[in-house]
Amino acid sequence: MTLVLGGLLAQLALTCVAVAAAVFVVPKRRALVAGAAVVGIAMAGAVTGVFALSGGHGSLTVPMTLPLGPVVLAPDRLGGFFMVVAGLVGAVATLYGIGYVRGPAASRTSWSAMALFLLALQMVPAAADAVSFLLCWELMAVASTVLLLADHARRAPVRSAALWYAAMTHFSFVMLLLGFAVLAAAGDGTGFAAMARVPADSGAASVAFVLLIVGFASKAGIVPLHVWLPRAHPEAPSHVSAVMSAAMVKMGVYGALLVSIRLLPGGPAWWGLLLIALGAVSALYGILQASVATDLKRMLAYSTSENIGLMYLALGAGLLLRSYGVTEPADSAIAACLLLVVGHAAFKTTLFLGAGSILHATGERDLDRLGGLGARMPVTSAAFGIGALGAAALPITSGFVAEWALLQSLIHAPATQDRLVAVVMPVAVAVVALTAGLALMAFVKAYGIAFLARPRGEGAAAAHESGLGMRVAMGISASTVVVLGLAPGPVARAAAAAADLSGVGAVGWWGIDLFGIDALLDPVALTVLAVALAVPVVLVSARLARRQPRRRVDLTWGCGGVRLSPRMQYTATSYAEPLSRVFDDALRPERDVLVTHAGESRYLVERVQFQQNVGDIVETTAYRPGIRWMDRVGVLARHLQNGSIHRYLAYAFVALLAVLVVVSL
C-alpha cells in the first residue's frame, strides 16, 4: 500500500467517523467531536496531497452500484497541489466552525454535509477519469448546497441564494458533462489518459475546450457566470463561505488547468486569448463591484470573482505565450496562477473568518453600521487587517508575491512575430494594475470603516471578541498569509513540480526566483532592510515620547464646532462615492434623495433622506430577461397539460401516427 492510497483510505474512514459522530453524538458535544473528525478529514487530505505532490503514486478504486463503472481516484502532482490547498483551508475553517456554529448550522445534517463537502473537495482533484470527476463534482455541489441552506427557515434570502446556486452549479455540471462527452468520444475512453490523446488542434478539442471552460468558469465565479457568488457567500455560515470561496471555486481553476495543461496541452492561441478576456473582465468587474459594495461578505464574494479572474488571466497569458513557443515567460505565468491560488486561499479564508467574527459579535454585515471594532476585537482586527493587506497585494503578504510574479511574467513577453502580443500584454498589465489599485481602495475601505474610528451603530458599539477556537483559527490563517508572503520559495518550487514548469525556483531558503525571466524576490531581505530603516524612526519617536507624552483629548477637529457625532463620519457608501461616480456607466447605481422642507420655506431643510442601491448590471441585463423568457415558455408549456383525458388520448394518438409515419419513411 502506497502512502497516497493510505491517505485516500484514511479520508474515507474519517468521513464515516465524522458522519457517525454528527448523527449519534449528543448536541452539546456534537460540534467538538464531529468537528474534530472533519478537521481530521481535511488534514488527511492535505497530507495525501503532499505525498501526491512529491511524486507518490497510488490508486483507489471504489466499486459502485451505478452502471457507470467504479470511481477511480489517483491524484497526480497537479491534483496533489490543489488537495493541499483545499485540505488546509478546510481544516482551518472547520476549526473555526467548531466555536462558531449555532442553531441550524450545528445540526446533524450540517455537520454530515460538512464532512462530505470536504471529502468531495479532496476527491475532485484526485479523480482519474471523467466519470469519477463528475460524480465527485456533483457530491461537492450537493453537499455545499445543503450547507448553504442551513439558515433557510429564518431568512428568505437564503432560499433564493440556494436556488441561484443550485441552478448555476447544475449549469456548470451540464457543460462539463457535454465537454467530457465530446472528449471521451474523440479519445475513445473516459479516462484522462485516453482523453489526453485527442490532438489539441482538432475541432473536437476546441468544442470540448469551450464547453469545459464555460462549465469551470461558472463554478469559479467568472463574470458573467458569477451571479451566484454575491448571493451564496453572504448567506452561507461564515466558515462555509470561507471553504466555498477559498477552496471550492478553486476547483474551477483546477479544472481549467486540467483541461489546458494536462488533457489538451499545446492548444491554439485563441484559447489563451479567451481565458485572458474572461479573466480581465472578471477581475475588473469583480473589484469594481467590491469597491462599492457595503455588505462585507458580498464585497468579499465580488473580490473572489476578481481574484479568480486574475488566475484565469495568468493561465491565459501562459497558454498564449506557449502557443508562440515562448516557454519561460509562459511557465512563469502559470506559476503565477498557482501562486495566486495559494495566496488567495490564505487571505480569503482569513477575511471570511474575520467577517464571521464581526457578524457573530455585532449581528451586522453592513459596513455602514460598523466602526470602532479595532478596540473591541483586537485579534479579529489584526487578522482581518493582515488578510486585507493580502487582498490588496501589499508586501509582505502572499497576495503581493503572486501579483509580482504575474506582472513580471507579463512584462517579459518578448516581442514575438505576432503583433497581438504587443497589444494584449500591455492591456493585461493595465488590467492587473487597475485591479490592484481598486483592490487597495476596496480593502482600505473595508478595514478602515469596520475597525477604525467610532461605532456607527449599536451592534458595533456592543461588540465583543470571539471565543478561543475562533481566535486560534483566525490566527493560524493570518499567520499563513504572512509566512507565505515572507517565504514564497517553497510554494514556487511546489508549483513548478505540480505543473512541470521550467525556469521557476527558489533562491536560498525562502526567496522566489523566476530565473527563466531573470527576476527574483526575497521578501525576507526586503523586510530586514525595512526594519533596519524603521528602527531609527522608532527610537527617535520613543525618545520624543519620553520628553512629551501623548495627550488624550475628547474631540476631533470639527471646524471649531463641538457637535461631532459618529453619524458625521464617512461611511462605506460615501467612501466609494467618488469611484462610483467615475465608473458610473459600468455600475449604474440607483440613487434616491428625498428632501423634506421645514414649513413653507424652500431654503430650510428639515430632513434629507438618501438611498443608494448598486445592483449587478450583468444580472439585470442578462439574467432577468432570460428568466422572464423561461417563465413565459413555462406558462405556455402548461397549456399542453390541462387535465383533460380527451386531450391526453389525442396526444397519444398523434404520437402513434408520428411514429408510424417515421417508421414508414
Binding site: 498589465v429 487597475l434 474610528a453 532592510l529 476631533t556 464617512y570
Partner: protein, 317 residues
C-alpha cells in the same frame, strides 16, 4: 557588493532626509517669488519640523494605534523607496534588486498608511481626504505600471539600476520617443501621487478641497512631523527617479568617495532644477475639479500605453 550597497543606501537615505525638506522649501520659495511674495526662505520646512518635533502629540478619543503607528510606517516606507531608487548610485544588494514593481508597492504601503490615518480620526474631513486619496491612487496605478513596462522593454528587466545603466551606455535612448512618452506619463503619475497641482493644492486651507491635508488634519506634534517628512521624502525620491531616468549622467556605478560626491552633487542639481520647474509650472495652473482628474490620468495612461506598443514595433523594426 553588500558593503557598497549598504554605504550607498545610507548615503541616499541621509541625503533625502536632509534634502527633501529643503526641496520643498525651495519649491515654496520659487512660488512665492513668482507670485510677488517674499517667501519664508528655503529652510522654513526644517524649522517647521523642529518645532513640531518639540511639541506634544494629541490623540482624540476613539482613535486607535493607527494614529501613532501610521506616521512611522509612512516614513519607513518613504525611506525604503529612497533606498530602492537609484538616486546617487546604481549599486544594489544582490538579494534586493531595485525592482520597480517592488518600489511601487512600497510606495503604496505609505499611501495606505495615510489613508487609514485619515479614516481613523473619525471626522468627515479625514474620511473625505482618505476616500479621494485612494480613488486617485487606484486610478494612477495603471499609468505607473504600464510606464514601468515601457521602460523595462529595452533592457528586459524591471530593475531600475539596469534601466539607468542602459541609459548611461546608450544616451540616445533617453531622447527616443518611447522613452519620452513613458517619462511624461510617469511624471503626470508622480504629480498625482505626491498631491501636487493640478491634482491637489498643497497649500490650501479650505477643508472641502483638501486631499492630502485633510488626512493629516487630526495629527499633531511628532506624528505630524513624521507625516510631513515622509510625504516630502516621497516627493523627493520620485522627482529624483524622474531625474535619474531623464539625465542619468553622474550616477555612481561603483562606491568610491569621488563617485558618491559627484552623484550627490548631480542629485542636488537635478532636484533643484526639477523642483523649481514643477513649482514654476504650478504657479500657472489652477487645481482641477476632482472629477476631472480621472481624465488627466486617462490621458497619461494613453501615453504610457502608446510607449509600450511603440517600443514593441520599434524593436521589431
Amino acid at each position: 557588493m553588500n558593503i557598497g550597497a549598504a554605504i550607498l543606501a545610507t548615503v541616499q537615505v541621509t541625503a533625502m532626509v536632509i534634502l527633501s525638506p529643503i526641496l520643498v522649501g525651495l519649491m515654496r520659495q520659487v512660488r512665492a517669488r513668482m507670485e510677488g511674495r517674499v517667501g519664508a526662505g528655503v529652510l522654513q520646512p526644517w524649522r517647521d519640523l523642529r518645532k513640531l518635533f518639540a511639541k506634544e502629540s494629541l490623540q482624540a478619543q476613539g482613535t486607535s494605534w493607527v494614529m501613532s503607528l501610521g506616521p512611522v510606517v509612512l516614513v519607513a516606507s518613504s525611506a525604503l523607496v529612497c533606498v530602492l531608487v537609484p538616486l546617487v548610485g546604481t549599486v544594489t544588494f544582490p538579494l534586493i534588486p531595485d525592482d520597480l514593481f517592488v518600489m511601487v508597492s512600497v510606495l503604496l504601503i505609505g499611501t495606505v498608511a495615510l489613508a487609514l490615518i485619515g479614516l481613523d480620526s473619525g471626522s468627515a474631513f479625514g474620511g473625505m481626504g482618505s476616500s479621494r486619496h485612494m480613488t486617485i491612487a487606484a486610478l494612477v496605478e495603471p499609468t505607473v505600471l504600464v510606464a514601468v513596462y515601457a521602460l523595462s522593454i529595452p533592457v528586459g528587466s524591471s530593475s531600475l539600476s539596469l534601466i539607468v545603466d542602459a541609459r548611461l551606455l546608450d544616451p540616445a535612448s533617453v531622447a527616443s520617443p518611447v522613452s519620452l512618452l513613458a517619462l511624461v506619463a510617469l511624471f503626470i503619475a508622480v504629480v498625482a501621487e505626491t498631491g501636487r497641482m493640478p491634482v491637489d493644492n498643497p497649500s490650501t486651507h479650505l477643508e472641502l478641497t483638501m486631499i492630502h491635508e485633510a488626512m493629516v488634519l487630526e495629527s499633531s506634534g511628532r506624528d505630524l512631523a513624521w507625516l510631513e517628512l515622509g510625504s516630502w521624502m516621497r516627493l523627493g525620491a520620485l522627482l529624483g527617479l524622474v531625474g535619474s531616468l531623464l539625465v542619468p549622467w553622474g550616477i555612481a556605478g561603483d562606491v568610491t568617495p569621488l563617485t558618491l560626491l559627484v552623484g550627490l552633487l548631480m542629485l542636488i542639481v537635478k532636484l533643484a532644477v526639477l523642483g523649481s520647474a514643477l513649482a514654476a509650472g504650478e504657479v500657472f495652473l489652477a487645481k482641477l475639479r476632482l472629477f476631472r482628474v480621472p481624465e488627466l490620468l486617462a490621458g497619461s495612461f494613453v501615453l504610457a500605453f502608446l510607449a509600450v506598443t511603440a517600443s514593441y514595433f520599434v524593436v521589431q523594426g
